[in-house]
């Protein structure tokens, strides 16, 4: 297989991650194949401990594979060194975490501009881009607020804006609504829909069915492997009335 492949933005083959040895061997991820096409939203669902978070970290280069190959934007990322991985993370992926992971002592806009600064943008360019992104997620008026003064949903939206800072190929989200209540989840859902309409590729790991239902493809995962795949696009029941038991 050639080293460059332009049809998928993210591709994985035979990805495995093991911990321990012998009797204590834990197969966190056990042979996963995946193809994500540009603009697609893919959701991975599964019970806790099934390895979906680990898989996400592997795909984003935050952790090293035990076996297998991963291509991101046509470039193989599993064998490259830490330095190159870091550079890759600057431009190819944006992360959204369950715990938000914002820096407590930085305001919203300072948090959002951080990846741009790390990628080498000038302070002004990074700041302007951050403000625009905050506007896109609907938090322009909260730019100067500290995370402690923001609600959970707002914090996650700031985190999403941060993930978009360097125009990544794919946004990897790990349980993005795990710490959010119903209303905040709806906000994040709306945002994901907007991003999807804008053509952003999303890979979301979740056990929230509502998030999963927004995806184009839903993959079920259990015990480190994919067990099922459902295509949700373009298939509706056609009749909303059926939802309330009205015979159409």
């Amino acid at each position: 297989m050639s080293e460059r492949d332009h049809t998928s933005v993210l591709r994985a083959r035979g990805v495995r991650k093991h911990y321990g040895q012998g009797d204590g061997l834990v197969r966190a991820v056990d042979g996963v194949d995946l193809d994500v096409t540009p603009g697609e939203t893919v959701a991975v669902m599964g019970p806790s401990g099934c390895g979906k978070s680990t898989l996400l970290h592997l795909l984003g280069g935050l952790d090293r594979l035990s076996a297998g190959e991963v291509w991101l934007g046509g470039l193989r990322i599993d064998p490259i060194g830490e330095k190159a991985l870091a550079r890759m993370r600057r431009t190819a992926v944006g992360f959204v975490f369950q715990a938000f992971h914002l820096m407590d002592e930085l305001t919203a806009v300072e948090n959002v501009e951080l990846p741009a600064l790390l990628a080498g943008s000038s302070a002004r360019a990074a700041r302007q881009r951050a403000l625009r992104l905050l506007e896109r997620v609907g938090l322009a008026d909260r730019a100067g607020f500290l995370p402690a003064s923001l609600s959970g949903g707002q914090r996650q939206r700031v985190a999403i804006a941060r993930a978009l800072a360097n125009e990544p190929l794919v946004v990897l989200a790990d349980e993005p609504t795990g710490n959010l209540d119903s209303a905040a989840t709806l906000d994040v859902l709306r945002l994901f829909e907007t991003l999807h309409e804008g053509g952003q590729t999303l890979l979301i790991v979740t056990h929230d069915e509502r998030i999963a239902a927004t995806a184009d493809r839903l993959i079920s995962m259990r015990d480190g492997a994919f067990v099922d795949e459902t295509r949700l696009t373009g298939v509706t029941t056609g009749q909303l009335g059926a939802l309330v038991g009205l015979e159409g």
Binding site: S53, T54, H57, L62, D63, R64, E82, K83, A86, R87, R89, R90, T91, F95, F97, Q98, A99, H101, M103, D104, E105, L106, E110, E113, L114, P115, L117, L118, A119, G120, S122, A123, A126, R127, L146, A148, R162, N166
Partner: protein, 665 residues
Amino acid sequence: MGRVLLVGRLAARNLRRRPAEAALLLVAMMAATTVLTLGLVLHGVTDDPYQDTREATAGPDVVASFAPDNYMGQPADLAGLEALADAPGVSDHSGPYPVVGAELEADGVTGSRRTPRGEEVGGAAGVWAVGRDPAAASVDQPELTQGSWVRDGGAVVEAGFADALDVGEGDQITLRTRLCTPMTPTTPEQHCRVVNDHSFRVVGVAVTAAARPYPGVCFAPFCPWFAEAMEDARPQGPPPDEPPPDEAVDDERFMEDPVEPGLVWLTEADARGLAPAEEFLSYVVNLKLADPADAPAFVNAHFSSSTEAQVLETWQDIRAGHDQLVQDTQNVLVIGSRLLAILAVSSVAVLVGGRMADQTRRVGLLKAVGGTPRVVAAALLAEYVAVALLAAAAGLAAGWLAAPLLTDPGAGLLGSAGAPSLTLSVAAQVTAVALGVALVATFVPALRAARTSTVHALTDTARPPRRTPRLIAISARLPIPLLLGLRVAARRPRRVVLNTISIFVTVTGVVAVLAAKTLIGQDAQLVGGTDPGTVRANQVLLVITVSLVALAAVNAIFVTWATALDAKHSSALARALGATPQQVSTGLSAAQVLPALAGAVLGLAGGIALFNGLGGGEDGVTGPPLWQMLAVAPVTVLVVAALTTIPARIGARRPTAQILQAELA
């Protein structure tokens, strides 16, 4: 009682959980306590050996020696010396005794001797040989520490001198005298030849209060201190004793002056036998006054400023000579221990601060299960108090064991043998200092922890990082490692300050030590430099320097560890967002190296100020040589960078995923 046990158990368990930290803490406090113990316990500092010796030997109040006037060809004014012995105010005297300046070689150590500095020095030692009566004298009868008093063919060596030469009862020594041509402005070189070369057996070693310690023994006509005092007293005018011009320069008229002389006693006959002829002898008489306090007045009344041939010394001068040996050492040790105490406080404070998150949670738990604020504070302090007590005990032991290892310049006085005594007062002082260090460092955090509301303590929102908008804005314009480093430092300004202080204190100490060494080195060239006082001073300086540097290293490690711990989350996040591990670890290092640089520069000024403030700024030495001063800052920076790079690297290489996952817990 139960509560005390509980507090004790909690403290013990917490210490056991983190043995490495406890050990480092112990080292930090031990450095301070050991040096302090040394300072308090070293011989001559707590007791009064000179006084003991004076009483035991019936020490004189005034020592007067007259020498022949070689320029004029006149023998010593013996009659004048005897008249002095009968002067009003004199209650008793011994002598006059003949004195000869010579060279001493200890057989068995042919051609070289070990100086107290530890060097092998070629050539023989200078010595004044005093001829004494085998019978006991009423004034100044030296007290034997080995063997017996003078007899024919037998010499008694002064104890300090014997210690330096490493000779004892039963050894053979050779005394050699030389006769020299005069030194004139036209012939500045002397030509000397050996006139007498006699071998003696060391029959005893004794201490006396009548002479300055080796190598400052002083009789006419060669007594540097006296000459200096005379210089001050003399009105301006031509120096005396200038030879008339055009005199025969080949005349051998001078006995060679002994260099860095010690003191031995011989029988009168043997002493006279050493001199080439009667007219070359000097004489010394020991006077006891009715009122010892009158000695300076007596000397002022009787000395003549026009000739160097008469030397009068008071017992106060001699005592000062002995005290000098320990004075400098004591000063250095006391100041050194203060510096170390400050450093120790800084170390402990950083450690306590770094563990504060953990502590706060423990406090919250204790409060939640019903602990009163007092119990809570006690639990926090108990750990550090325990370590402090242990450090005090260990420091006392270490200091007590180390004290005999240092050269003892007081060998020439009574009471020098054996281990120094650990009195209750010394133990109390050292323990107080150790406890003080622990309390000062932990007081503020303990207070804050005890006052934090339980809820906050449990949910760990008690210590949010500081936010400084201006620094954040500035850092955005810097290259990435500096961006990360500055933000990491800005989160915990108090730790940055502590770091700077600790480097400042260390560098201050090191600079002061370097300056002191320079001064000592210069002095050594003036008066010889192999004397035990100099040697001990150098040893002490070395001990202080090593302690300072070790403590500072411990400090640097603490700070790095605490910083890395605190920055764990930020670093992991930065890496997740695209910073390379090198950038992160460089940033963490920079966060400490830059304050260290500031501390070093300030410490340079501080050290010079300290040195001069302690009266070290004499003889033109106001600080260490320029190259040393210029080297201080770069060396400090390099050392700090090296020490902090490794933990920073380790911290930066840990898998990001683990850290970020862990934060969820």
